[in-house]
């Protein structure tokens, strides 16, 4: 309680760009800032600039629906996200900034036998890796979420659910600002409104970047540009097997506590949580077409409303206040593309689709380690870009599609 | 082999009396006046360009495909006249007629002044034709219960 009335700057005002940095991080979202923070904190690498074309958190970091969980399908994925959840659990204290991490539990509903099989598979994999995750039947679902309509005269009766007690939601802006403050205090420079327009190379390795505020030399470039990943990788002539889609979400007016667990229905393409501001937050699946244009659509509101009311008929008179759209960089196997590329010094964090926010801390720690040691940490070795050439995909199709 | 197994109108055979049943029969049991089952209309898919033989209606449903409507009894004849690239879809599509623009506007996002056209009715792919105040809707028969229920419900909302 000590310093809440004291006005303390979160970060230094933006200064001039230097001519040279050891590491340039493109993208001031959660991944870019986390990488910067851990470079300084864990490895003492501080001659680092984060370049952001707009304000920090202006991309998916400030638009996502903030689900943090680790009940993934593949052992590689589950292990990786579990480490991230553990880092998030400590991060408020570490940053001395309350990220409002609410581990209220995460329920993925099954409306078909097939879905129950996939959930059993996930639960079994999770349990073998020490992750709290289990399949529960309708009575347990009713106990965990009494608000749900569990009757059978609905289009999609609820046959059970995958329950993940440590899954939760977090305040996205807090994550961005907390990491930015941590990075700034560690000595990293953050440059908002600075767009990267070119990547300089010689002899197959990076030498610098061009920006809208001048050119910079550097040894390492990290692209943490999520929805813009293919555009930035193109600047280095690196081709990423990624398509960009939009993902939409909306919130209702704030309500007194109504729902204290996250409810996901992949079959109905909808997920629902209540934020700490009281709003009911509703998200969906990515739109099937590829685009960089982030316009919100009306049919999205209509079908999401239809499906939400099927789960929660009590919300019929609750009003939608705001809808918005973000860009998602989707990889073919729904797993990220993380680490080195064929261009020396060009490191990527991409392919995050609809699920990358939960990974920010683990991306930050592992990429920082990679940059500092020059070796790919084991945890992210399965996610190299190379896997698309060696056909060793890590398929999370069953666990990632709508579950974020 | 032919494709006789697609034909709905049967010549009588050897002691059996196959009974045809409309996919909408149950759904429209309690339908108010003005809603009619047209499932037994003859319906043919034609690839490529189609000339229209007498007594049929032709609706272009895709650049390279048309839906041809005719009386059930004429399917055989029309199929013959339309040549090779014809598939008898009489059994595939259910059909119904509703009356009133208002009701139609609650069922489909279509320009009712630019019919016939293909589009979604009750979220289901359909072809809609207009005759004055009456609208004929043809759609995959497996949605018959669903579309029937939506139509009756929409009509009830306007009653």
């Amino acid at each position: 309680m000590r310093d809440i009335f004291r006005t303390r700057r979160m970060w230094r005002p933006r200064g001039e760009l230097k001519d040279r940095y050891d590491v340039v991080i493109v993208g001031g979202g959660s991944h870019g800032l986390a990488t910067a923070y851990y470079l300084a904190k864990n490895h003492g690498i501080t001659n680092v600039a984060v370049l952001e074309q707009s304000y920090i958190g202006s991309g998916a970091a400030g638009r996502n629906t903030t689900i943090v969980r680790s009940n993934y399908r593949t052992p590689e994925g589950a292990r990786f996200y579990q480490r991230s959840v553990e880092l998030y659990e400590r991060l408020s204290r570490e940053l001395d900034f309350n990220l409002l991490f609410s581990q209220q539990g995460h329920l993925t509903l099954a409306h078909s036998d097939r879905a129950l099989i996939t959930m059993t598979e996930r639960a079994e994999v999770n349990q073998l890796l020490g992750i709290d995750s289990r399949v529960v039947g309708p009575p347990e679902v009713a106990r965990l979420c009494p608000e749900l309509d569990l009757s059978h005269d609905v289009t999609w009766p609820i046959l059970g659910a995958l329950y993940h007690p440590r899954g939760g939601i977090i305040r996205h802006d807090a994550v961005v600002w907390g990491l930015a403050r941590g990075a700034d205090r560690g000595g990293v420079e953050i440059h908002p409104y600075t767009e990267v327009t070119g990547i300089e190379r010689s002899n197959g390795r990076v030498t610098g970047v061009r920006t809208t505020r001048g050119d910079i030399e550097c040894d390492t470039i990290v692209s943490a540009t999520a929805g813009w990943s293919t555009l930035v990788a193109d600047l280095a002539d690196v081709r990423l097997p990624i398509t960009t889609h939009i993902l939409q979400a909306f919130v209702t007016e704030p309500l007194k506590p109504f729902l204290d667990v996250i409810v996901v229905s992949s079959q109905m393409h909808v997920y629902v949580s209540q934020t700490d501001r009281g709003e009911i937050l509703i998200g969906a699946e990515i739109e099937p077409y590829t685009t960089y244009r982030g316009t919100s659509t009306f049919p999205f509101l209509e079908y999401s409303a239809r499906h939400v009311l099927e789960l929660f008929p009590q919300l019929e008179n609750v009003s939608v206040l705001r809808q918005w759209t973000g860009l998602c960089d989707l990889s073919p196997d729904y797993s990220p593309i993380l680490g080195v590329t064929e261009v020396d010094g060009f490191v990527v964090s991409a392919g995050w689709g609809t699920y990358g926010f939960k990974a920010a801390p683990i991306v930050g720690t592992t990429l920082a380690e990679l940059i500092s040691t020059g070796r790919t940490p084991e945890l992210i070795a399965p996610f190299t870009l190379e896997r698309f050439y060696t056909d060793t995909l890590v398929s999370e199709l069953a666990a990632a599609a709508v579950s974020h | 082999m032919s494709r006789d197994f697609l034909a709905v109108e049967l010549a009588p055979a050897d002691g059996f009396e196959p009974r045809w049943r409309s996919p909408l029969e149950r759904a429209l049991r309690d339908a108010p006046p003005g809603i009619r089952d047209l499932s037994r209309t003859g319906k043919l898919h034609v690839h490529g360009d189609v000339g229209a033989p007498p007594g049929v209606e032709v609706v272009r449903v895709a650049p390279d495909r048309a839906l041809v409507l005719c009386a059930a009894a004429d399917v055989e004849r029309v199929r013959g006249e339309l040549g090779e690239r014809v598939v008898d879809m009489s059994a595939a599509l259910a059909g119904l007629e509703v009356r009133g623009e208002r009701l139609m506007r609650r069922l489909a996002d279509l320009d009712l002044d630019a019919l016939p056209a293909a589009g979604a009715v009750a979220h289901v792919p359909a072809t809609v034709l207009r005759d004055g105040d009456a609208f004929r809707i043809f759609f995959p028969q497996e949605y018959a219960d669903h579309v029937g229920a939506v139509v009756l419900d929409a009509a009830a909302g306007l009653a």
Partner: protein, 871 residues
Amino acid sequence: MRLPPSPEERIDRSRTVTFFFEGEPIEAYAGDTIGSALFAAGRRVFSRSFKYHRPRGLLCCSGHCPNCLMQVDGAPSVRVCTAPVREGTRVRSQNVLGSLDRDLLAVVDKVGGPFTPVGFYYRTMIRPRRAWPYYERFLRRVAGLGTIDKHARRSSRFDTEHRRAEVLVIGGGPSGLDAARAAARDGRRVVLVDEGLALDAQLPREDGFETIAPARAIGIYEGGLVPVDAGDVLLRFRAERVVVASGAIEQPLLFPGNDLVGVLLPSAVRRLTRLWSLRPGERAVVITADDRGLAAAEDLRRAGTSVARVVDLRTTQPAQMAARGSHGRVRSVSVDGDSVDCDVLVMSGGSQPAYSLLAQAGARVEYDGTRGIFVPRDLPPHVEAVGSAAGEGARGAAAVPAASYRGTESGGRCFVCICEDVTDKDVKRAIAEGFDSIELAKRYTTVTMGPCQGRLCHLPSIRLYARETRAEEATIGTTTARPPWAPVRLGLLAGRGHEPAKRTSLHHRHKELGAQMMWTGEWRRPHSYGDVAAEVRAVHEGVGVIDVSTLGKLLVSGPDAVSFLERLYPNRFGDLKPGRIRYAVLGTDAGRIMDDGTIGRLSERDFYVTTTSTGAETVLAWFEWWNAVWGYDVSVDNVTGALAALNVAGPRSRALLARLTELDVSPDGFGYLDAREARVAGVPCLLLRIGFVGELGYELHFPSPYAEYLWDTLLERGADAGIRPFGLEPQRILRLEKAHVIVGQDTDSESNALDANMSWLVKFDKDDFVGKWALEHVRERGPRERLVGFEMANGTVPPEGGQIVVDGLPAGRVTSARWSDAVGKAIGLAWVPPALADEDSRIEIRVDGRLEPALVRLRPFFDPDDERLRA
């Protein structure tokens, strides 16, 4: 107390309506809103503010602000100032502890405490971590406004109607009406919608165009889609041209005490006095930047309120301005040290074009420094703005007021955003902390994120921000518009909520027979008819029949049909004789299994292709796409719904069929994997002799309108052979006994035909086929995992999805598992590491946390040599 009747008033004094506020009956006139009736009954405090729980009263009376939100008949956050009275309606206040007039949480306003500075929650409650869940629960309880009855069901009816208009005019003010008339004169089909017409002066019915009110456009979306909230009906307009005449929104002034009860915007004065003949108070002060304030002063005088002072900011620029109150109600206002007593304070900070719809439609919004407002520019082609929505100063020039006015030394709070209780201090503090771009400041302070959606706080917050950072307002820009333009109920968006569901022609027969139905994709199918074991037995020993109409069915015909299919599938078809059938697996370009089914050759150039039940649409789209790419002379027709399909299976199926058809069904006349056309019970059928369930069997495909007839006939004529209908569950057991794969269950999006033990169907010697290179790569690198059968050592049935464990880690997975009476064992299919994929390999499967042993089996568990199948 009402004023004497006036011709303008909207109330019908001859008709009274009674509703309930906090359980007490309130009498109103027809034509009142809940808000006007409560005001008439003497209520001044209508809500408590979000954070400080300060009393708040009517401010705009136009549905823009958060001050009159109440629960109405269980619906949260209803703006009662625009909600018409209805007999018996139950109205309650929300977000109070105690009552509106005595809210215990108002203590927050008095003592301040840790929960007041902007962003406090980021900086508190971090340690100890154990305590956070308790803090969190507290935070959640104080957040939020309305409450929901958790047990309520859907109770209102909402409909959706699709409309078309050549010209859609949004807003029925003078400029909107002019636009509508002009377009109608040009012979266009015009519709005008207005959110408030029912409240303000009723429009004369005009010829030439249709008027819908109250009806609120909630957005302008792609394709000219303009959804309109017309109460219980959502009108989805598609318009060739949209004219936005949404007017302007009156803006508040920023000074200490600007949120006190009794502080009004001019529109509130106009509506209270004119529509409902109410006197807003006894003594008023007006502070205005434009003529709206002057008009309000006139209205007040006519209503018998004395106007003690009018400050016109166009002629005087006060340096100091503050309102003071007691018990939350305004008592006096001081301007440059000159204090005047009053119980009404009208403020008018100019008006801001209501540009949201335009911005959402794609217009750029630009700050006009000389007028101090944002104006829309660069409208998209089919959208037009008229009147004050376009930024035209309809009522004469306005002064640009100060970003905020200083109060006296000890002055109260000055609110920038009344929804979120954000003060000018909060904004300054945010800037000082480094949230120094408007977007960051907005997010940190949450200005514009409340129920008014920025209508009353966007412009003032930007002015303030610009002054504090010395930025040019013009360089600031605005946030992207986040639709909808006004809150819209989920029920209205959802409409009637019917979801398309597919049913086979035998759906009702199954129900009549007592089947338990289950979902498979969009279809519902019988799980069983009550006795799974008996249904399995019938197929093994007698005859059973299952409805397989859900199979996707495609006709592929044309001179290039063979080349087309050979290029799509890894299989070969050129050597398939007419009248013969082949099992085929469809692969993706990456060599993954996409779907499977049987392909029968009907003639040289006609093929009949079946797909999985859930795969039909995907496969059809896949076929059509490749057909377009390759340009073959082939046509593809989806006949899924045209044909019902029944699988008649079991040792007695042949005898049964023989009774119903003239076709030679002898083993020589109609062998395994033959296709025939014939009448069965008088119905023309395509008969396929295939055996997914592992016994002698025939699939009959025939026109769906005869499904019930043929089904009934089979059951009748097969009765003496003990025929039973069987469902999906018995089918799953039967096929598992044969180790037949279900694509999508035993395979997933990463499985390929080689690892799934189907290499026999992959013809690498073909020129090319979809996914060939990928399968070649798989062949070279060898399998990563293999699909095998297994039987449990001790009879436990492992869960589907269960894990094969090696060294304590997941190494494979069970995809299917069942108990089989016929085999006398628990059997299943699983993906295992290649090293464990040999006959008799021992694997361990996790069941309820224990490891259970099993043995790998590479051949079918039942009738391994297919003798019964081929009989």
